[in-house]
């Protein structure tokens, strides 16, 4: 089971503040199938519920959701006790990496982008998306005056 484990660092939240802005860094976790579906669509991949993911030779593993890749192997996602989805796939020969990035990076990136846009939209906020030179994606959310 190759579920992505994340390290949680506790943050102090001082009550008295003079600052007007802050940075937050987040390790993305897949929790929302709708946003995941949008990410898959952008990558030209299909997401299937209750399916089998292909692995080496005739190995298969069950997924609550499966991302069907164009190469020989697929990605299985299974719901974890904490509500996020663990990711499992056969990483042999880098077939999976080629399509979704190292450590599923591209998949996680597009998931986070779609999830953030979706959440901002729920609040009625407009979002502007732009591609950065280093491969990052920037979103600017207008949160009122």
């Amino acid at each position: 089971m190759a579920a992505q484990k994340c390290r949680l660092m506790l943050c102090s939240q001082p009550k008295k503040e003079n600052t007007m802005s802050h940075f937050t860094t987040i390790k993305t976790q897949i929790k929302d199938i709708q946003a995941l579906r949008s990410a898959c669509t952008e990558m030209g991949l299909s997401l299937v519920q209750d399916a089998q993911a292909r692995g080496y030779y005739e190995n298969k593993t069950k997924g609550d959701y499966v991302i069907k890749l164009k190469g020989p192997y697929d990605i299985a996602l299974n719901k974890q006790p904490d509500g996020s989805f663990g990711i499992t796939s056969d990483l042999w020969e880098g077939y999976v990496e080629k399509e979704v990035g190292k450590n599923y990076g591209k998949l996680m990136q597009l998931y986070a982008v779609h999830k953030a846009i979706q959440e901002a939209r729920k609040k009625g906020h407009l979002t502007r998306r732009s591609q950065q030179h280093d491969g990052s994606i920037k979103l600017v959310i207008a949160a009122g005056v």
């Binding site: 940075f23 937050t24 860094t25 929790k31 190292k102 986070a112 994606i137 979103l139 600017v140």
Partner: protein, 64 residues
Amino acid sequence: MPKTIEIIVSPAGEVSIDAVGFKGADCEKATAYLEQALGVVGKKLKKPEYTQRTKHQATQKVGG
């Protein structure tokens, strides 16, 4: 002063959130829904002065 939230998502899927133009605790509130929705909060860095924003942004390199 318009309030904006700037999000940078690295090619590795790491998210940096920067709230701009908010006052004090509003700042935390403004991004809380995104932090909660996206995953596990790694670290928070208070920016000492809003006016230093440009400088801070220049040093914010994620992924790559």
